[in-house]
């Protein structure tokens, strides 16, 4: 009896989070409903993003009042977001797995807290600092030595900057998991005559697979939503899909950031609603990625249970 108010208050507080999520989805759906009606399916497949003639008079098209020539298509931004994030994961994965294994196995126990703290601190650095470093150091480097056209802004720079930001996330998650692997697994593998490399790859890594996937999904979530750093190094592409590693790109988050003030000068308000529709698209992408990862990890768990 004494516990009921405690239980109720805990219940209401814990329901606050899914309620907030539902509120955000509902707001996006309601606010972008006219844009969804106007844009239709061409929104996701269209390469052209045109706010229309904001200095002319609005016209009526497809039953909505929009600026003349308005045509909203986000394929460029979706492509830029997905390709840069996955490329970032590709670059970050060997770095972070290597760092975690190094910190867990090869570092003297006295040094481990210091070095792992350093890795955690990289995750705390604000993203705009990474963007500034990208502009000052990375872009001239890539422009002079790597890029065939001399242009440093683009897909490669964005992916490298993202990779640097997400490496500590994967590394610290994996390090925690590796430290929690029972000593018996390691020692029995050594006792059976396995080399250090075999102990790590065959006795320890399989046990942390779920956590690794979880860490990668967390990192992917950060990469998909990263706005500031990417806006500074991506090259702001518009109406053109990336064709090579050195093509300028635009990501969804950085595009919403740079377009918002222009969209607000649209008197019909269709531009801002279309931006809300882009946000909805990003939300669906992130949801899809997280659901896919959840299915992957629960599948892995089932496999492990059957084997034991």
């Amino acid at each position: 009896m004494k516990f009921r108010p405690f239980r109720l208050s805990l219940l209401s507080l814990s329901l606050l989070i899914p309620a907030a999520l539902c509120a955000v989805i509902l707001f996006l759906l309601i606010y972008s409903a006219p844009a969804i009606g106007f844009n239709g399916l061409g929104f996701v497949t269209g390469v052209t993003w045109n706010l229309g003639n904001l200095y002319g008079d609005p016209v009526t098209a497809r039953g909505f009042t929009v600026p003349a020539g308005a045509d909203y298509g986000i394929l460029v931004f979706v492509t830029g977001t997905l390709v840069s994030s996955f490329l970032a994961i590709l670059i970050a994965l060997p770095l972070s797995v290597g760092a975690a294994i190094f910190l867990a196995e090869a570092v003297p126990p006295r040094l481990r807290p210091v070095l792992s703290l350093l890795v955690e601190l990289v995750a705390v650095v604000p993203s705009v600092v990474f963007g500034l470093w990208g502009i000052a150091v990375l872009i001239p480097l890539i422009g002079h030595y790597v890029s065939p056209s001399g242009n440093g802004y683009g897909l490669l720079s964005s992916s490298i900057v993202l990779a640097l930001m997400i490496t500590p996330i994967i590394a610290t998650t994996l390090l925690d998991a590796l430290m929690r692997v029972p000593k018996e697994n390691r020692e029995s593998a050594f006792g059976l005559g396995a080399t250090h490399f075999e102990v790590v790859t065959k006795a320890m890594m399989p046990m942390v697979r779920t956590t690794l996937i979880g860490g990668v999904v967390l990192a992917l979530g950060r990469a998909l939503g990263e706005t500031m750093a990417v806006a500074m190094v991506s090259g702001g592409a518009l109406n053109i899909l990336p064709t090579s590693l050195f093509s300028p790109i635009s990501t969804i988050a950085s595009f919403i950031l740079t377009q918002l003030d222009s969209a607000q000068s649209d008197p019909t308000n269709m531009a801002v609603r279309s931006l809300a529709e882009i946000a909805l698209a990003l939300f669906i992408i992130t949801l899809g990625v997280n659901t896919g990862a959840k299915l992957l990890t629960s599948g892995a768990l089932n496999v492990r249970k059957r084997q034991s």
């Binding site: 056209s149 702001g236 053109i240 740079t258």
Partner: protein, 359 residues
């Protein structure tokens, strides 16, 4: 291991929160030293260097007013002034008709006359003042002209050794008054551009392989400096930075067919052509102005302000500052540093009439 980790993190968290609370308390206590009116300005990166020269001089002679300035682009200046988030929205572009109909209280007050240069990064040709025209630039920015040694550019520049290299056109990604000026020049000089892309603070730039988007005038300078064989439209207040970065200034073809560079004479000629026809709401463009010597990309720099301010003190401070800006602020000691021109007397009178409407 886990427990000690948890304890360590709990202690760290507690000391972190305590430090934060202490800092907040200090700020709250030390905060408002004395009640001064604060005016917030945001917007055009072209006008930003001039505002940074104005603010120290103005606050030195008017200690009761504080002004904060930021550079976010003309689109942001207009939008945030309309929403009431800032008192002064700096913009190179006047408000569109539809926007004025929706917000009849907004004023477009010219503060100075500025211009825009077309800068290029051609190694070795920095001082050559390459001749470019509206149709050539429209061709470059729509992907029809891809190489620096294209026939159209060679025809305009006889005797200049143009490299056989791809042109990298750089545009603004943020809502930009410079984009407005540049695209208006292209629209007025090239009918095909006017029909396909038109003009505005944001336009749907045609797909060009390798085209780059930059943020703000300073972003344009860095992007142009970092990319050889690029071309960018940069406000004249950044002329020193562009020159330092080794960028050349193009001579542009005006409405009379003459190739002119931006300087006091040519920009003054452009301004003179619209002074007598500037309407009371002062929304007029001097792009591609008539006049043998007129520079084709010149404009009034606007302060977008709401005639209805939140309270009388803010309105009074705003009137004081804006009146100061169009009189004392138009002195050579400020304008020469950013290569702007002062407003003609007739325009100063019109601006003061508009400023008097701020209540």
């Amino acid at each position: 291991m886990k427990l000690s980790n948890m304890l360590r993190r709990a202690t760290a968290l507690r000391s972190g929160v305590a430090a934060l609370a202490l800092a907040a308390a200090t700020v709250a206590v030390a905060g408002p030293a004395h009640a001064a009116t604060t005016l917030v300005e945001t917007g055009s990166s072209l006008l930003y260097p001039l505002f940074n020269l104005w603010v120290p001089a103005f606050t030195a002679s008017h200690p009761g007013v504080q002004i904060t300035t930021t550079s976010t682009g003309s689109g942001a200046g207009i939008a945030q002034s309309i929403k009431g988030l800032v008192q002064i929205g700096a913009s190179d572009a006047y408000m569109a008709d539809a926007l004025v109909h929706h917000n009849p209280n907004m004023l477009n007050v010219p503060l100075a006359i500025s211009s825009q240069a077309i800068n290029y990064n051609l190694p070795g040709l920095g001082n050559a003042h390459i001749k470019l025209s509206g149709p050539i630039l429209a061709g470059i920015y729509s992907g029809k002209i891809t190489m620096w040694n294209a026939p159209a550019i060679r025809a305009a520049n006889p005797g200049v050794n143009l490299p056989a290299h791809k042109i990298i056109p750089i545009h603004r990604v943020d809502g930009s008054g410079d984009t407005f000026l540049f695209t208006q020049y292209l629209s007025r000089s090239t009918p095909s551009w006017a029909h396909s892309v038109a003009y505005g603070t944001t336009v749907s730039w045609p797909a060009v392989e390798g085209g780059i988007g930059a943020n703000g005038n300073s972003g344009m300078v860095s992007a142009a400096a970092a990319n050889p064989y690029s071309v960018a439209y940069i406000g004249v207040s950044y002329a020193a930075a562009a020159a330092k970065a080794g960028l050349g200034v193009a001579a542009l073809k005006n409405a009379e067919g003459q190739y002119v560079l931006p300087n006091a004479e040519t920009v003054g000629a452009a301004a003179a052509s619209v002074v007598t026809v500037t309407p009371p709401d002062e929304r007029i463009s001097m792009i591609f102005a008539h006049g043998k010597n007129a520079y084709p990309i010149a404009n009034y720099e606007y302060a977008i302000v709401n005639a209805k301010q939140a309270d009388a003190t803010t309105a009074a401070s705003l009137r004081t500052f804006l009146n100061w800006a169009v009189t004392d602020g138009n002195a050579p000691q400020f304008l020469d540093q950013v290569h702007f021109l002062p407003l003609p007397d007739a325009i100063k009178t019109l601006s003061k009439t508009q400023i008097a409407k701020i209540k």
